[in-house]
């Protein structure tokens, strides 16, 4: 038998983009569960803890959406520089949402691990 072992890199890249897109909000909620962060700091935190190359500009529309959904809260905090920071925290509903997402993630992980064996 002869197999052509050539990976379809375009397919993998598209799939990875979808995974990234789908998991970014989950990652943000996990990070915000520890403490409050301002936008730039949150980007750095994502970079430290994950290997995901996040387009920084896309983070703000996502944070806005999470805020509109009532998952995160935000507040402007004045700084000595005169340029305030907008801090994000997980709301009560956000904490409950995160718990639910963690359950789903765990179940998915278990299922995939079983399939991969």
């Amino acid at each position: 038998m002869y197999y052509i072992c050539c990976m379809n890199s375009e397919f993998v890249q598209n799939w990875f983009s979808q995974v990234k897109k789908g998991t970014l909000s989950y990652i943000i909620l996990i990070i915000l569960d520890e403490k409050e962060y301002y936008g730039y700091e949150l980007v750095q935190e994502i970079k430290i803890h994950t290997t995901l190359e996040v387009a920084e500009g896309t983070l703000y529309p996502l944070l806005n959406r999470l805020k509109a959904e009532g998952i995160v809260d935000s507040k402007w905090v004045e700084q000595e520089s005169g340029i305030p920071r907008k801090y994000y925290t997980l709301s009560k509903s956000g904490k409950a949402t995160l718990t639910e997402m963690q359950k789903i993630w765990s179940a998915l992980e278990t299922a995939i691990n079983k399939l991969q064996k």
């Binding site: 301002y38 936008g39 730039y40 700091e41 980007v43 387009a55 920084e56 500009g57 896309t58 703000y60 529309p61 806005n64 959406r65 509109a68 402007w76 520089s81 005169g82 340029i83 305030p84 920071r85 907008k86």
Partner: protein, 192 residues
Amino acid sequence: MKRIIFTNPAAQKIYDDYIKRVTRCIRLLSADDQRDTLMEINSHIYEATNAAPPENEIEILLGTLEKLGAPEEVLQPLVAYKKAQQATRTFNPVHILQAMRLNIANGAAYVILAFFYLLSVSFCILIILKIVYPSHTGLFMQNDKFVAFGFTTELRGGLTELLGQLFIPVVILLMGALYFLNTLLFRLLKKE
């Protein structure tokens, strides 16, 4: 919003140009949303470039702006989303039309919505036509068969207009129903 001051004039110009582009991209939003978005972008640039030595200012600023991305691209989803929120909050047709234009790339449903809004506008034109050309505008039947609802230049023999003076109230009712249904549909789409 407090402007960031750079030591290097070239860096200052790059920053000012970027902020101008951001301002242009978000001009359709409410004043509060514009201020909030601008302050957030400004804060990000400040935090990323703060304490950069003057000789590296341009390099660091360019890197930061590149990572943030072109405002026209990265702010599009935010503007579309916030505009949709404003439209559903206010029921203002101008905001609804702007929100549809911005969200049209988000799915065929918005194309359908846009079509229905156009239909509402054409109903409005029909009212004017009924006033100007009363005999040429209406619900036309011929031999008990439906021929047209609207305006016709040709009045063939046997063609009868059924609604008469009731045409305008019927069109107003249809417009109202269409507008209400579309706005409700728009709210449902926004929730998805």
